[in-house]
Symmetry: C2
Subunit: 363 residues, 2 copies
């Protein structure tokens, strides 16, 4: 029903070849004919069929964003998707959004590929976001499917397969955060965060490196006291305070830190008066509201870089790309204070002054 090229050709009194050349900006075209064609296009409200085009060109202007093993689109990935969309829009590519769930244990040969890959020619390159394991990477490589990987949540058991990837520098970011606290004179610096979560491994590593480099004992609460990051942070601080463990600073991922802060507050401890705090990443709405000292990363830029690499990869299939590293920056704002260097070996944490409010304990 909608007009096609033949209709335009007929209306303009030219051949379809000419119409095609006009559309594709071919310079060797008589200005008069071009005019006629353009007029016909406008009058018929002609819009070319992208898929027919990609059939001929053997490449669809389309990349696929796959969110792996996540039950919902976390704000972190929303922002990445945003960046992907932004870059692709500028490059005139379409973005397919899909999710994928698979088990880490499944052999790569048995893996169900994303649906976008089960049929072919849909999107010629895939962006793997979410949490991924090496069995999928292996399967894609075996099938020769071009893909680029968001590497921060990538879990590999063997040595890491060399893949085209983008990552933000979470080890360095965590290290910088910890070293900043150390420079401020803190010694009893707690890292809080469920170490079994793929995206919290690198931060822990960065923290450990910093502590070790300065000859400090790590103070880690890396058990999962709750599956909810906020509640885990809160429970961890509850525990630390109740056991009267020394603590002058906390470093944690945003969600966890948010809960930790809440717990501190319920225990009558002030940030940064009693405890300094550096937060890794951002928590929806929070950092707009409180002048957190935090480690920031441009997630939208991460998305752009992923899209850029994906598109380049489509253009030169088989090419390998060096890893793109998006920097993390320590933003010094209001939640850290220097710690007097004259310290007793055991710094006693102030004791709880108020009982937790009854409201806030429930799930």
């Amino acid at each position: 029903m909608p007009a096609n090229m033949k209709d335009v050709a007929k209306k303009a009194g030219v051949s379809v070849g000419t119409v095609s050349r006009v559309i594709n900006q071919n310079p060797t075209i008589d200005p008069v004919l071009r005019q006629r064609v353009e007029k016909a296009i406008a009058e018929l409200n002609y819009r070319p069929n992208t898929w027919a085009r990609s059939l001929v060109n053997d490449v669809a202007p389309c990349i696929s964003f796959v969110l792996s093993n996540r039950s919902f689109l976390h704000p972190v990935h929303s922002r990445i998707l945003q960046g992907v969309e932004e870059y692709c829009d500028a490059a005139e590519y379409f973005v397919l959004y899909s999710r994928l769930r698979y088990r880490r244990e499944t052999a790569s040969a048995e893996l169900d590929l994303p649906r976008v890959l089960r049929s072919h020619g849909i999107a010629d390159c895939v962006i793997l976001a979410g949490t991924n394991f090496d069995n999928l990477v292996e399967a894609l490589e075996k099938q020769q499917v071009p893909f680029v990987l968001l590497a921060n949540n990538f879990v590999t058991h063997g040595g890491r397969v060399p893949v085209d990837q983008v990552r933000w520098n979470d080890v360095a970011g965590a290290r910088a955060a910890t070293e900043y606290l150390i420079e401020l004179g803190h010694r009893e610096i707690w890292y809080i965060g469920d170490a079994s979560l793929p995206w919290l491994r690198a931060p822990l590593e960065g923290y450990q490196k910093a502590m070790e480099a300065h000859g400090l004992d790590p103070r880690e609460q890396i058990a999962a006291l709750s599956d909810n990051g906020f509640l885990n942070g809160r429970a961890s601080v509850d525990m630390i305070v109740e056991r009267n463990l020394p603590m002058t600073a906390i470093f944690a991922d945003a969600e966890v830190a948010y809960g930790a802060w809440e717990a501190l507050r319920l225990h009558g401890l002030k940030v940064p008066g009693d405890v300094s705090m550096v937060v890794l990443g951002e928590q929806e709405g929070w950092s707009d509201v409180v002048p957190l000292t935090y480690v920031s990363v441009d997630l939208v830029e991460t998305g752009r870089q992923l899209a850029k690499m994906a598109i380049e990869k489509m253009k030169s299939p088989g090419a390998r790309f060096p890893e793109v590293v998006v920097p993390m920056d320590l933003i010094r704002r209001g939640t850290c204070r220097p710690q007097p260097i004259t310290k007793t070996e055991l710094v006693e944490a102030p004791v709880t002054s108020r009982a937790p409010e009854p409201l806030s304990g429930t799930k």
Copy 2:
């Protein structure tokens, strides 16, 4: 380079027609040939080309999710997208994600359509999410582009154009929330929220209706004291408390309520001890942590319904669909208390007991 149907046909020693029939589950096929074909498909790792298929079928298994006039993918829309993806995945459709920005004032003829519509055959139905205005709707109708609309953030000046749409019942939800507070004996019920935001109009309307129906004076703080919902909520409560205006309950959108709660806390007021609270919708992470009494809506289901309508519309072009209304439910949990019916005409709000913490004031 990847195998096509001809390759499969050759390998299996049959014609392409047979291969096609096998793929399309055509029952009238000799089991022996079917076997041979399936074997060839497996060996060649053949994957059909969806776009070539859609060229012939004149319909692409693809719908387009358009986020209008939003600078980022808000969690509310993330969930809707999630529902869309879920339904489409089950229906074997692909989801294109894109954003669109346009001015409300632009004449519909001058409007730039979403890129997915500038070329044709990409996705035969569009889901309009985000905030939309009637000029776009008009443009799409004029161009005969099939679309379905998320109606909650739709802004129209004339009478509403009848379009195929899904909405959650925010007027009724807000009304139910307010009436619940009234039933509990509250009279000084504040509604807080920037009334210039499209998605906060209906809640305000529901609130007003409930108050009016019970002969109560509305207590609205609907000016924008900040562009940030949280800060707006906080500033509003600051104002109310500082002016000593009567207030025994608050009803507000989640983000705003969150800020309001924070302000109450800084003023030494307890929820629900001093002030009852009903929250409209959910705020990332918050309702998991505090037993809010809130008005819930299944956003994922909203997405599913949008996708369902879009797919049905593609199948029967030109059909009109009745509006789908996703219910809002009042979930009674822990943030409301009955208000003694014996009340003075002027209920004096308790006065601030603590000064706001120095930290939390800055942007």
